[in-house]
Amino acid sequence: MLTDITIQVLNALALSSILLLCSIGLTMIFGIMGVINFAHGSFYMLGAYVGFSIIKMSGSYWLALIISPLLVGLVGAFLELTTLRFIYLRSHFYQLLLTFGFLLALDALAQTIWGTDFKEVPVPDLLKGSVHILGTMYPIYRLFMLGLTAGVTIGLVVCLQKTKIGISIRAVSQDSEMAAGIGINVNMVRTLVFGAGCALAALGGVVIAPIVSGSLGMGVAILIQAFVVVVIGGLGSILGSVVGSLIVGTSQSYGTYLFPEGAMVFMYAMMAFILIFRTRGLFGEEE
């Protein structure tokens, strides 16, 4: 019984870590630009696909883990630079439509380049096998997922609090006009944050690839879950993303364990509950 609980807790944490990698970019992009990136799941999917191709060419998982997020981040920054940048002054309406257009185009592009079949990525040799934890065996790779996500998240928060660029980002998210007034390059910050958010989603894609094979549907699937996370946690708050990911990850993994058919409904029920009693989410700011 105890071992069951240990495994369930670890599974919940592993799922939460993927959700966190995706929702943190979503929430940061919203904080800086007021835009919900509907293509966020597509960048996650691209991360997995590009990672697959890099591993196929070079044979190295570690190379994919670094290069794929960088490449996908560049794609994101490029899209911001060439399209989104020109419509910040228009209503949210067009920005949402535009990122939805990215979703359509990127999903179609992925299908053109990689086809429709599943892309399997092997677990890297170094992380194969299981270890003993609290009287049970658990795969090393999932523990690696947990550690990596925790590391990335802490690194990101420290970066936002301590470095000059992090302080600029926070300044822009509070008041972009004021930030521009004191000499911060707002355009550069926006491009950077959009690219970084996409790179984080892509990192999530590479990390999940050895567990769930890459497929065309994975982008929208994670996008919906990330939406539920940010609705529960509150948009624009990193703490909200962390808590939201833990709540959704736990409910999903326990849900599939206790009543397989109803796990998904449980997730939506929680979202509806939050919407009725606290529209801005647990940590979201008042509109």
């Binding site: 067009y94 939805f100 185009a105 053109t112 929208v220 939506y268």
Partner: protein, 314 residues
């Protein structure tokens, strides 16, 4: 030209063209024409949210799909005539839309947009898993086109079905325009322009938004209910986000908030599909790029662009 200024001129011309054209067209073209009207109606139903209330819904396919399933079940299992099946589809869409609209409108702006997509994917998942009623991933196959009334006028042939769709769509446009010109419709447009101001006049804007959401789903349900007998089957695909995407593409390319834009967009969409897919398999990629370009360069879509040209000349 007094004729051009007469307000019934363009509607009557449209009706005349669509009524006469099938006489000269081969069967294949009539099929395309029918598809065009159904998808135009689908895109128009979204316009009441997008164009006239300023609410962005990314999950409109849910109501199209639910309408299709409702009509398929009525036609296949209860052997009802087509008009009743279409009514059932419309009501099914509206009933499903009530809880979703009620919850989603608690939030505004980007939250609302996210919620519509999330709830639509939930409805998709339910339809996918509810094997007993929906046939799961197989869907419902062999949906007949039935009759106009019990044992009265068979609608099985392409032409008969086309005229039925044509009448339903024309009636829908008529009702749609009446709704938009009513005080209710004017209030929706006021909400689009400035929701806070409307609220400050003592109007409960949320009630209006929920009703708009239900009306959109009602018409979306009609279009789905026509699509099931048109295509011969209802599958979970119809509720998938990709269909919501197609609906948005048609509406945005055609022109948001113009009524005719939905039909223009559906025409462009279906013609592009016919033309491009004969050259390359990457049809969706090209349509996606065109969509992005229209959002960036032609915010009013094809119809908005045309209307601007006319205005400039005058």
């Amino acid at each position: 030209m007094w004729l051009l200024r007469w307000r019934w001129f363009w509607p009557l011309l449209g009706i005349l063209i669509f009524a006469i054209v099938p006489v000269f067209f081969p069967a294949h073209h009539i099929t395309i024409l029918t598809e065009l009207l159904i998808f135009g109606l689908f895109a128009m139903s979204l316009d009441i949210l997008l164009g006239y209330t300023g609410m962005i819904s990314f999950g409109h396919a849910a109501y199209f799909g639910v309408g299709a399933y409702a009509s398929a079940i009525m036609l296949l299992q209860f052997n009802l005539p087509l008009p009743l099946a279409v009514l059932a589809g419309a009501l099914a869409g509206a009933i499903i839309a009530f809880p979703v609209g009620y919850l989603s409108t608690r939030a505004t702006g980007v939250y609302f947009a996210m919620l519509t997509l999330a709830f639509a994917q939930m409805i998709y998942a339910i339809v996918f898993k509810w094997y007993k009623v929906t046939g799961g991933s197989d869907g419902i196959v062999g949906v007949p086109r039935s009759e106009l009334w019990f044992h009265f006028v068979n609608l099985g042939s392409g032409k008969a079905f086309y005229y039925f769709v044509f009448v339903v769509v024309a009636l829908s446009i008529f009702v749609f325009v009446r709704i938009l010109r009513s005080p209710f419709g004017k209030t929706l447009q006021a909400i689009r322009e400035n929701e806070k101001k409307v609220e400050s006049l003592g109007i409960n804007t949320r009630k209006f938004k929920v009703v708009a959401f239900i009306i959109a789903a009602f018409f979306g349900g009609i279009s789905g209910a026509l699509f099931a007998p048109f295509d011969g089957f209802a599958s979970p695909e119809l509720l998938f986000w990709a269909y919501s995407g197609s609906c948005l593409i048609m509406l945005v390319i055609g022109g948001v908030g113009t009524i005719m834009g939905a039909y223009a967009g559906a025409t462009v969409f279906i013609l592009l599909e016919e033309v491009i897919s004969s050259y390359t398999k990457d049809y969706l990629l090209i349509v996606g790029i065109i969509f992005i370009l229209v959002v960036l360069l032609l915010p009013g879509g094809v119809v908005g662009f045309g209307m601007n040209l006319v205005k400039r000349k005058e």
